[in-house]
Symmetry: C2
Subunit: 339 residues, 2 copies
């Protein structure tokens, strides 16, 4: 430890530090730390890899979600990272931390749900580790196969590109707020938001269709919310972005939850995170074609243009005709909670 | 949760349950849950994958080890799993859980040590995740490349095979006991044991040479101790085993620590675990050749025959001419501590 004035790091600073220690891409590594997945090269070309660690009490609350929901959600979040490259899910590796003397039913529900969610997208759970831990820990490491396709990176955005998203946003944040408020999860108005939080659908088919189109310039999944994730995509592309608030496809169930709880549906849509929809950029003239491809590949899933890539710097929100910075900052794991 | 009489699981039972939920090998998976690494097939043939989760307070104590030691040891433990297949380390993926506001120096030392230990064996840290956690969490997922070689599995042992180990055993357990006793880590008699615990050397070159020889029937690394790991290898091979206590290559430093603390050096050698030496089986006539190959590949590293594969069932220890069950049971993460 440094004897004085220790530097405390934010999540982005930790990622930067780890990336600088690891060294960048090159050699047999096409894309290293900083995209949704690493892209391997050389003899392993065509493989992409993602990993996520989920900690009970930080990322999920077993008082609010069933073990089956937690398993589903963990797998879906990782599949979403593969989807964001346009990859086909292939293999999964699960590290599981469990309190002493775990119950068979708990492990069955948690892992069974993970396995079946993975299998629905062609993924095979192929290995793992189990250890004792004070709280439940779930680390998934997933390998995806690109086949002959090139992975779609965050860095390919071009000036003037349309910024598009799949599906509806804000459901997950609204569903979590609903559960945290202790409201009935089966309430018909809120149930879609609760489902968006507990059983999110990874956009694997849509991601594959978008990559296959050959006209998507940049793509990532919305895991932390557009207010955090769009600045990442824009920065990786050396650009800025502008989002029109009125075009953001807010989940109707999030609006219903916002009305019932007095929350902010647009806030959840931009900053709530964990919707696991895809965000991508393309020539404005390609939006219609891509909307058709996604609808066909993914059972009518919507595509909505929400903004444009700009010279930047920074990402702004255009709201009632006025431009303001996107102030919904999403979720930084290491930020102090605001009082 | 089951409403009554919940079944509480041991580590082996959890692994069996997860393996049964995941389904076995087949299709594009050559070896699934249960060996040191998963062995991929199909388009990913030649890749092996291992993952390990380490939890502060369960697997390491930052009061006893520096962040640099913890990083080194985490990477070495995973490299050892690749070595046990005969693979060349290729890519690593790190998930890191850190308490709020981690210090830059801590992250630098921990991850820097991991990266340099990996790099020494050709491994590139290619991706990861960082999250907030109440304690330090380290999950590494490593990919190894077999090239043209077939991976050496636990299941290939044959009746009458010699059971051999590389190096000396018991150093890590003795080193940990020394540190836990609050003794001087720089004491010359104990320092090699402390180093064995804090900076273990993964036997990557030896594993590769053993796989290349083509005459090794079964192999695994000694992560939990021979008393736990040999029954696993024997069971996977459908056999039993007998170990001669007098032939176990006990680390001289473990003997010195045992004398100073009143411990049991053979106990550490058989049950202490975390020596990360390789254990393999071969025709008795091949031992000398393999000892030469390992010595040449790995700077004079010793190979010692400690026993034989028997019809079984079970693994016995032959001590002062008498056969007894191997009662050193190694480390089960979910076993209740003995009072």
């Amino acid at each position: 430890m440094a004897p004085d004035a220790p530097t405390h790091l934010s999540e982005e600073e930790i990622i930067s530090l780890v990336a600088s220690l690891a060294g960048g891409a090159g050699g047999d590594l096409t894309v290293g730390i900083g995209d949704d997945c690493a892209v391997l090269g050389g003899a392993q070309a065509g493989l992409v890899v993602t990993t996520d660690l989920l900690v009970q009490g930080v990322h999920f609350d077993l008082g609010l979600m069933s073990p089956s929901d937690v398993g589903h959600r963990s797998m879906a979040a990782n599949l979403s990272d593969l989807a964001a490259m346009g990859a086909n899910p292939a293999y999964g590796f699960l590290s599981l931390g469990l309190p002493a003397r775990p119950q068979a039913s708990f492990v069955s529900e948690l892992v069974g749900s993970m396995v079946s969610q993975g299998r629905a997208y062609g993924l095979k759970l192929a290995g793992g580790d189990t250890v004792k831990s004070p709280q439940v820990l779930i680390n998934l490491c997933l390998l995806g196969a690109m086949g002959a396709l090139a992975p779609v990176l965050r860095s390919g955005g071009r000036l003037g590109d349309a910024v598009c998203v799949t599906g509806r946003l804000g459901g997950s944040g609204a569903g979590l707020a609903w559960l945290q408020a202790g409201r009935d999860p089966d309430d018909p108005a809120a149930a879609p938001a609760v489902a968006a939080h507990c059983r999110p659908v990874p956009r694997v088919e849509a991601g594959r269709a978008l990559a296959e189109s050959g006209v998507v310039h940049a793509m990532m999944d919305l895991s932390d919310g557009m207010a955090s994730d769009l600045p990442r995509l824009a920065r990786a592309s050396g650009l800025g972005a502008a989002v029109e608030a009125e075009r953001v496809p807010v989940d109707p169930s999030a609006t219903a939850v916002a009305e019932a709880l007095g929350g902010d549906a647009l806030g959840w849509a931009l900053g709530g995170g964990e919707d696991f929809e895809l965000m991508f950029t393309c020539d404005p003239g390609s939006v219609e074609l891509l909307a058709d491809l996604v609808a066909e590949a993914a059972g009518g899933l919507a595509v909505t243009q929400v903004g444009r890539l700009t010279p930047g710097p920074g990402v702004s929100l255009i709201r009632r005709g006025k431009e303001e910075p996107i102030t919904y900052t999403g979720y930084d794991h290491f930020r102090e909670p605001t009082p």
